[in-house]
């Protein structure tokens, strides 16, 4: 075991990746926090994250935040558990229901199936970004006006899916709205209200109001 430990200490001087991994597995008990390491694999340099906690920087709602997570941690868990940004909800945890939807790099994604380390370097937008002071975003107001929520648990994800949809398609037809929101489920059955809200928000946008 002490041999392995030594190898771990010498990893920069060309220890093979396999023995390095064994060594780091054994040293798991040490609460190390590091950024990624660059390891040499067959003459190629590759970034290696983990298995211990890694310091990563995420750009969330315009602000850079540094967080220490194991590389297996999802974007959703990093925000909810480490940064206390709890708008996005963990519901199915299997890329089906949409309650965890965030906009990453301009695209709606299920944050339960994106690794936090993978989301570095891209703007991450959550429902928390929408309100300006006490003023609801027009899309949020449209949800209120059209009863687009009942229990409200799916709503933050739904709102972000709608936001991404309207950003891409500011003047949708009702059919396009229906197709564009297929990735979000509401067990209360508020779909009619959500569709109406999207159409209202689109109309307000056309009327020249700020659509964020």
């Amino acid at each position: 075991m002490s041999d392995e430990k030594n190898k771990s200490d010498q990893q920069k001087s060309g220890v093979s990746r396999r023995s390095f991994l064994k060594a780091s597995g054994i040293s798991l008990g040490v609460p190390l926090v590091v950024g990624h390491r660059v390891i040499n694999v067959n003459g190629q340099e590759v970034k290696l994250y983990g298995p211990t906690k890694t310091s990563i920087t995420l750009t969330i709602n315009g602000a850079k935040q540094t967080v220490e997570v194991e590389p297996r941690v999802t974007l959703l868990e990093a925000l909810r558990h480490e940064l206390d940004i709890t708008g996005a909800k963990r519901v199915c945890d299997r890329a089906t229901c949409g309650a965890c939807t965030m906009i990453v790099g301009g695209k709606a994604v299920y944050s339960c199936t994106v690794l936090a380390i993978e989301a570095q370097g891209k703007p991450i937008t959550t429902v928390e970004s929408l309100m300006q002071g006490e003023k609801l975003h027009p899309l949020q107001q449209a949800f209120v006006d059209n009863d687009g929520q009942q229990c409200g648990y799916c709503t933050p994800g739904f709102v972000m899916a709608c936001k991404a949809f309207l950003d891409k398609n500011p003047s949708p037809t009702p059919e396009e709205v229906q197709k564009g929101l297929g990735g979000n489920l509401c067990r209360c059955g508020t779909y009619m209200g959500v569709r109406a809200a999207v159409l209202q928000a689109a109309t307000m946008h056309k009327g020249g109001k700020n659509h964020g």
Binding site: S16, R17, R18, L21, S24, G25, L28, H36, I39, V41, N42, G43, Q44, E45, V46, K47, L48, Y49, G50, P51, T52, E70, P71, R72, T74, D93, R94, A95, T96, G98, T101, K107, A108, V109, Y110, C112, T113, V114, L115, I117, E118, A161, A164, F165, K179, G180, L181, G182, G183, N184, L185
Partner: protein, 289 residues
Amino acid sequence: MRQTPTVQSPLTLNEIYAALAECAGDLKIIAGGTDLMVLANAHQLEASNFLDIWRVDELRGISDEGDALRIGALTTYTQLIRAPLIQQFIPALVAASRTIGAVQIQNRGTLGGNIVNASPAGDSLPVLAAYDAALEIGSQRGTRRVAFNEFYTGYRRTVLAADELVIAARVPKVKAGERDFFCKVGTRRAQAISKIVMSAKAQMNAASIASIQIGIGSVAPTVMRATQTEALLVGATLTPDLIEQARQMIANEVTPITDLRSTEHYRRSVTGNVLTKFLRQIIEGAEAR
């Protein structure tokens, strides 16, 4: 104690090859994560260490190679849906991509991921089967090309060696006058895994079928081509009688199982009905002209 996973993040194809050569079998390649992360969250993933290839831009993009399109393995369904080249030359792949998951999945899921995940229900796979696609497979030992229809060797088994990666699919363009088709039958429009999924292509010569290729998913251990039914149809005059024969033949040719999504009986029947839909469309299209 269960070891927590490491994640390697290569930036180039050569780095991927090196990592796979060094650690073949111990690494799980992850791209968009739409299949693997679901398993990981459910603690059903055995491999502990990930090779995250999402940042390797060499694996993205669609290029025109004359009679075929080359589609990089990391091309997402959203990119396929929006690409004018795919819309023009492989319309069935656009139709298939639109039925995969929903927007959030289409933004992350990749064609290469659908291929190597090797699910019999992968919705892009019948298109690649019907179009006689070829796969480019790379490793530190070099690259090779494998016919898509020879890629799968059994349920979730492929010809890929442990150090190899699917880097692109080469899909022949639809030819002038050729009809292409895609139909997925699932529980609902979005987010459903197929009960049966079919893609087909046919070239008519007046009233007879000059060529036809039929790819079907979710009805066998792997995506399959309905070669017996194709043989019945090629060279024959397309009549309602022939369509009925083909419907019965294909229902017997497929080998579905009963599982949580559907029954064997339903899958056989609906496979026949979906083929009927395509063949009737051809007749109606000819009459409309």
